[in-house]
C-alpha cells in the first residue's frame, strides 16, 4: 500500500495542472457553463491527445497508457481543483471502465474514447451507488432499446453511450450511438454547473450488445468510479482551503488581515486536518482499485471525502463573506460540484450502510 504520489504521478499532475492553468480559468468556465455547450471539448481533446488522459488505466494491449487507477485519481484531483468541464468522469472513468469489464473488450471503441475523438458516457443515473441492483428502466427487446435514464453525467457531450438494459434473458450491456433518431439526449438543469447531466430516452434505438458479464462490468465501473471520485473531492476541498487561506491573508477588516482572527484560523486548521485524513483515504482507495480491499477502501474514501469537500466548499463561501455569495466569484462552482459529488455514486449515508457489513458492523436487527 503506497499512499504517496509517485514521481510519475507527480509529473502527470504537473502536466495536467499546467494545461488547466492555461485553459480552465474560472472566468471562462463560468462563461461557458451558461451556454448550450457547457462541456469544453477542445480542452478534452488536448487532454486526451497530448496527455493520454482518456485512456490512463486502459492496458497498452488495448491501445491505452497501461497505467493504473492511481494515475486516473491524480487527474481527477486536478480536475476537481479546477472544476474543468471535461467529460473525464463520464467517458474516461465510467464508460471506459465498463467497457474494460467486457470480455473481450472493444478495443476499437476504447481507442476512440482514449483519443478523445469520441466521447462516451455510461447511461446510469449519476446518483447510482455501487452495489445497486442492475438498472431496469431500459428494456432490450426485439434487438432494440426502449426506455429512459435520468441524470446521466456527461451524456450531453457523448457520441456513444454504454447502456445497461434488461433483456428477456436478463441484464445486458450495449453501446449505442447517439446520432440516431431513436436516441434523445435532453440536457437537465444541473445543480453542478460544470458537470452537466442529461436525460436520455431510447425509443427503439439500435445498439451493439457487449459480451461478457454485464452485471460485473457495470458493477466494476461503479466501484472504480466511487473509489476515484474521492480524489476529485480531495481536489475540490484542496482548492477551497487554499483559496480561502489566500483570501484571508489578503482581506483586511478592522485594520487586520481577516486571517489573523483566531476563530477563523481554528476553523481552517480543522479543515486542514480533515483534508489530511481525506487525502490518505483517497490515495488508499485509488491504490486498492482491483484488489481485495477495493470496496472497503472505496466506501471509506467516498463517504469521508464527500463530507470533507462539502464542508470545505461551505467554509469557502462563508469565509469569503459577501463576495463568496456572488456569481462572479468561482467559489459557488466548487460548492455546487462538492454538493453534487456528495450525491454522485451514492451519498455518504448510503456508503456507510454499504460499508457496515463489510467491516463486521452489522445493522440493527
Amino acid at each position: 500500500m503506497n499512499l504517496l504520489y509517485s514521481d510519475v504521478e507527480d509529473q502527470l499532475r504537473a502536466s495536467v495542472a499546467d494545461l488547466l492553468a492555461d485553459r480552465a480559468q474560472p472566468a471562462s468556465i463560468l462563461a461557458r457553463c451558461e451556454t448550450d455547450k457547457p462541456h469544453d471539448l477542445d480542452l478534452w481533446r488536448t487532454l486526451t491527445a497530448e496527455l493520454g488522459a482518456g485512456s490512463l488505466h486502459v492496458p497498452e494491449s488495448l491501445g491505452g497508457q497501461g497505467a493504473s487507477a492511481r494515475e486516473v485519481a491524480v487527474v481527477l484531483e486536478e480536475l476537481g481543483r479546477t472544476v474543468a468541464p471535461v467529460p473525464f468522469l463520464g467517458s474516461a472513468v465510467l464508460a471506459t471502465t465498463a467497457l474494460l469489464g467486457c470480455e473481450p473488450a472493444d478495443g476499437e471503441l476504447l481507442g476512440a474514447l482514449g483519443s478523445g475523438r469520441t466521447v462516451g458516457a455510461l447511461a446510469v443515473s449519476l446518483a447510482t451507488a455501487p452495489g445497486s441492483a442492475f438498472p431496469s428502466t431500459v428494456e432490450y427487446t426485439d434487438g432494440v432499446l426502449r426506455g429512459r435514464v435520468r441524470s446521466v453525467a456527461d451524456a450531453a457531450a457523448a457520441d456513444v453511450l454504454v447502456v445497461p438494459a434488461v433483456g428477456v434473458d436478463g441484464p445486458t450491456l450495449h453501446t449505442v450511438r447517439v446520432d440516431q433518431a431513436q436516441v434523445t439526449v435532453t440536457p437537465a438543469v444541473s445543480l453542478d454547473l460544470t458537470r452537466p447531466i442529461a436525460d436520455v430516452t431510447f425509443d427503439g434505438a439500435a445498439s451493439t450488445r457487449l459480451t461478457g458479464d454485464p452485471e460485473s462490468a457495470l458493477d466494476g465501473a461503479l466501484w472504480t468510479a466511487a473509489a476515484l471520485l474521492a480524489s476529485e473531492q480531495v481536489g475540490v476541498a484542496d482548492w477551497c482551503l487554499t483559496t480561502t487561506v489566500a483570501y484571508l491573508k489578503d482581506r483586511h477588516q478592522f485594520g487586520r488581515p481577516v486571517g489573523s482572527f483566531q476563530a477563523l484560523k481554528h476553523r481552517l486548521a480543522d479543515l486542514f486536518g480533515e483534508l489530511a485524513l481525506a487525502r490518505a483515504a483517497a490515495r488508499n482507495a485509488a491504490d486498492a482499485v482491483g484488489g481485495p480491499e477495493e470496496r472497503v477502501a472505496a466506501l471509506l474514501a467516498n463517504s469521508l471525502c464527500s463530507t470533507v469537500a462539502v464542508h470545505a466548499a461551505e467554509e469557502c463561501v462563508q469565509l469569503h463573506g459577501g463576495i463568496g455569495m456572488t456569481w462572479e466569484h468561482p467559489a459557488h462552482l466548487y460548492l455546487k460540484r462538492a454538493k453534487a459529488d456528495q450525491i454522485a455514486l451514492g451519498t455518504p449515508g448510503q456508503h456507510r450502510r454499504l460499508l457496515a457489513p463489510l467491516v463486521d458492523l452489522p445493522a440493527p436487527r
Partner: protein, 392 residues
Amino acid sequence: MNAETLRERTREFLDRNDPATTDRLEFLRARFDAGLAWVHFPEGLGGLGAERELQNVVDQELAAAGAPDNDPRRIGIGLGMAAPTILAFGTDEQKHRFLRPLWTGEEVWCQLFSEPGAGSDLAAVGTRAVRDGDDWLVTGQKVWTSSAHSARWAILLTRTDPDVPKHAGMSYFVLDMTAPGVEVRPLRQITGEAEFNEVFMTDTRIPDTDRLGEVGDGWRVAQTTLMNERVAIGGRPVPREGGMIGPVARAWRDRPEVRTPELHDRLVDLWVQSEALRLAGVRLRQQLAVGHPGPEGSAMKLAFARLNQELTGLELEMLGEDGLRYDDWTMRRPDLVDFLGREAGYRYLRAKGNSIEGGTSEVLRNIIAERVLGLPAEARVDTKVPWKDLPR
C-alpha cells in the same frame, strides 16, 4: 392613550374613511394623517405618541374592516431602518418631507451602507463625500443593496474626513436615487438571481439639507439604523414547521422511497432544533411583552442560519438524484425574497447567505461573547489611527 380610546378612535376613522370605497393610497394617507400609521410616532408624523404595543389594536381593527395595508414587506427598509433614523436625527423639515410617503409606500427606500471593503467592518466605509458649497459631492461604491432599482431615496453612510480615526470621520445622508451620477447594477448571486444591487456614485451631488445628524457623527446615526434593523429580526410568531423544516419534513412525508435510518435521525434532530428555535422565539417575545427583553436574539439568528443550512443540505442528500438538479439558473431580479420559495437546490444555495446577511455569524458570535457573556474584547488596532492610514 389606552387601548379602548385607541380602538374607539380607529373605529371613528373607519367611519370617516370606508376602505370599501376609498382609493388605497388615499386611505393610507388619511390613516397616516390620523396618527394611526405608527402610533408610537409623534402626532403630525403619522402617530399619536402612544405606546408601541398599542399598534396591534389599530391593526386588528383595520384588518377586521378589510382595510388595505402599506405592504410592509415591500418597504421594510424604509419602515424598519430609515424611518426611526429620520425620526431620531432628522430636522422638522426632513421629517415632514420624508415620513409620509415613506410610510404609504409611495417612496421606496434603500440602504447604502456596505461596501466591498467594508462588510463586517462597516466603520471602514470609503465612499467619499466632499463639501462643495451648499452641497456634497459623493463618489464611491456600495454593495448588497436590496430594492436599489426601485428606490426613490437611500440612507447613505459616507466618509467625510479620512484624516481622523475611522469612527469619527463619517457622515450620514439621504440620497436621491434619481440624482445624476447614481448607477444601479444588479448583483447576481450564486442562486442565479440578483436580489441585490451594486450602487455606484460618481460626483453625485447631495444638498447639505439632506444630511442626517452632524458632520462627523455618521457612525452614531448609523448605529440607530442598525439597532432598529436588529429589533425587526425574529419579529413575528411562526407556527410549528413554519420555517425551513417545513419543506424538508413535507418531502420526507411525501416520498417514502427516500427514507433511510441515517437521514431519519438527522431529520428528527433538526426538527427538534427547529422547534426549540421556534420556542425560543416565543419565549423572547414573551420577555419583550413583560418588558424584560433577553439577549437571545443574536443567538437565535445564528441558530436560524445554521439550521437553514443543515436542513437544506440534508434535503438535497435526501432527494438523491433529484438533488442533482436545479430549477432555473435564469438571472432574475425578484422584488421579494422567500428563503423557502422555489426548489430544494435554490433553498440550499440561498441559505448560505443567511449566515452572512444582516451580520455574519462570526460577528454575531463576537457580539454574544463580548456584550452578553462579558468576555474581554480583543485589542483593537484600528480605532486610533487615521482612516486613510489603515491597512486594507
